[in-house]
Amino acid sequence: MKEPAGPGRWQALVLQVVLVAAVLGAGWWVVEQALATLRARGVHSGFDFLRDAAGFEISEGWLAFDSTQPFWRAFLAGLVNTVRAAVPATVIAIVLGTLLGVARLTPHRLVRGLASLYVQTLRNVPLLVLLLLMYFALTHLLPDPEHAVQLLPGVSLGKSGLVLPWPVHAEAGWTLEWPEQTLFGVSGGASLSPEYLAITLALGLYTAAYVAEIVRAGIESVGSGQVLAAQALGLPPGPVMRLVVLPQALRLIVPALTSQVLSLVKNSSLAVAIGYPELVSIANTSLNATGRPFECIAVVMAVYLALSLLIALAMQVYNSRVALRGWS
């Protein structure tokens, strides 16, 4: 497009500067006004609390945390827990979603029907309902921790989750720590809590239904003439999919997949309902412990924004690699 010449261009520039200034000014006014009123009413505000001792414990996670550590570390532990749930859920969603998407296009009627049933069911159940269903099914149906089912030696499944032997580092070097039976269940080893299992499975299974539709649409977008041509050249079905269809389908699939991954990460905040200590749950607790809703929610927003931008960037890099040259 040709840029407007001379004065028109200046007008556009001035308009934009004024607009940006107005937005920033309004934002500043809101914050300033809010802070002034809060001060006037004796409500303390500011981010200084992030360095105070949190005073609460976090039930599980990769980042060791105890109640004497500061709030910022609690938020960090929450973020780590968000990632800990979101990454395996994304893997489940993409692998299962791709299989389902392909299954919806197979000539086998039974396979197609089952895949279609899965997609329709999961897409029509609210995620929170699915999550609570999974969680209460896990906690009600599994045996009490003291009567956990032994799946393999040292591996047991009960109300306290899936317990496994886990290597620990001691003075003598790495050793395998075996779970031991105690009064309240098992201790030692590593465990995946029912909260963690429920959020990971629910997010993965739910998002898989959407991924399946994206994959199906991507594959269907490739003209049937191309498939016929490939078949005419004598390619077997596997290579037809791998060499002809998927490379072209991916350029439609990847951008749509990006938004599914973004939703998945943000949907992990629903875990607060089932007691999984992810970012929002930690923010919730902190917000109450400190009485600073503004600040805690601002931290959550900033972290989700950063996380989303990071994912979008990664997916964009991947997309630029799979996108067909000359097809943009």
Partner: protein, 348 residues
């Protein structure tokens, strides 16, 4: 609180509340809340989403409990009608933002009075209406009889409460490691406990009794451990910046305690009003010195309040004590002259 509500929406709503708290809260001047209450014709009272004994709705939407009655007493004193209360159910995360935002006039929601809340939220706590302490509820099958035996147990509780921090402090101080599992909603936290996900549940002892009697599949399978690990003085609270309303919210519950000391009950009040020659009783009955005008209330404000909900002792028995499902003993919530902690400031 409905179990099925989106936390992200909740966070947004909370942020909205906080913003409106900051932006819309008008400058403070004396008597503003009282004027607003009179003009509206009702007291907006923040309560729990359902905690037997303190504030719980029945099937018809009628709220009962100690906190609910405290609000009724205030409505009776201010508006002359105990029915003119608008109950606003709030979960523990919403409660402070709602009061800051001016959505409610008073928060009577079994809230613990501590320094952080008193000094940093912009509120005044009024009068302690219940001295509570945090305890543990456990299934009897573990044969645990003391909190000291909880080593290694998973403990369920609700987030956004003092309970969550108390259990961390207690575990650290006593060297008894426990794993705390926190849920956003009270319902989810006790449901997980009764489903067997946790081996203990912790909250204020009064609420433990309510849970065991009302929610447990079989109350006899559960035991409240004898140890109390914290002090939980529960008191209603109001926004700072309106001293007149603060005084009303302080003196109405105080008058109910004073009424028990003075021997005025719901049943005897009208007879006493006609006959009593005791100046202390007459001040409470509105037949002696005018104790209302300094508060900006009618002369018979305390008569109306006591007539509506009874004195503190009657309120306790009806909601928490022998007359209720909870059957809690008065314990430290007896009057000071009967060995308890309740000591009403003199109404004179």
């Amino acid at each position: 609180m409905p179990l099925l509500s989106l936390p992200t929406h909740r966070a947004a709503a909370l942020a909205g509340l906080a913003v409106s708290a900051a932006l819309l809260a008008p400058a403070a001047h004396a008597g503003k809340t009282l004027d607003a209450v009179k003009q509206r014709g009702s007291v907006k009272c923040g309560v729990t989403t359902g905690l037997a004994g303190f504030s719980a709705p029945d099937a018809k939407g009628h709220w009962s409990g100690l906190d609910a009655d405290t609000c009724r007493a205030i409505a009776a004193a201010v508006l002359g009608d105990a029915g003119k209360v608008e109950f606003v159910p709030l979960n523990s995360q919403q409660r402070f933002a709602a009061l800051q935002a001016g959505e409610i006039d008073i928060l009577a929601r079994n809230t613990t009075w501590n320094l952080t809340r008193d000094a940093s939220l912009g509120f005044h706590f009024t009068t302690i209406t219940y001295y509570d302490g945090q305890g543990f509820l456990v299934p009897k099958k573990f044969k645990v009889t003391s909190a000291r035996q909880l080593k290694g147990a998973t403990v369920c509780t609700q987030s956004g409460t003092t309970n969550e921090k108390n259990v961390a402090d207690w575990s650290r101080a006593q060297g008894i490691p426990v794993k705390t599992l926190v849920f956003e909603s009270f319902e989810a936290s006790y449901k997980a406990f009764f489903a067997g996900r946790c081996q203990a549940f912790t909250t204020d002892a009064s609420a433990l009794a309510a849970l065991r009697n009302k929610e447990a599949p079989n109350p006899d399978d559960y035991l409240i451990l004898p140890e109390l690990i914290s002090k939980e003085p529960l008191a209603p609270l109001v926004r700072r910046g309106d001293d007149e309303w603060f005084a009303i919210a302080k003196w109405v519950p105080n008058a109910l305690i004073e009424a028990e000391e003075a021997g005025i009950g719901q049943g005897s009040i009208d007879k006493l009003k006609a006959d009593s020659k005791d100046p202390a009783q007459m001040r409470l009955l509105g037949t002696g010195d005018d104790m209302g005008k300094l508060l900006g209330l009618p002369k018979d404000w305390s008569y109306k309040a006591i007539k509506a909900v009874g004195n503190y002792g009657e309120m306790f028995e009806r909601n928490l004590g022998a007359g209720s499902d909870l059957k809690l003993p008065r314990g430290v919530n007896r009057l000071w002259n009967q060995g308890g902690l309740l000591y009403a400031l003199p109404v004179r």
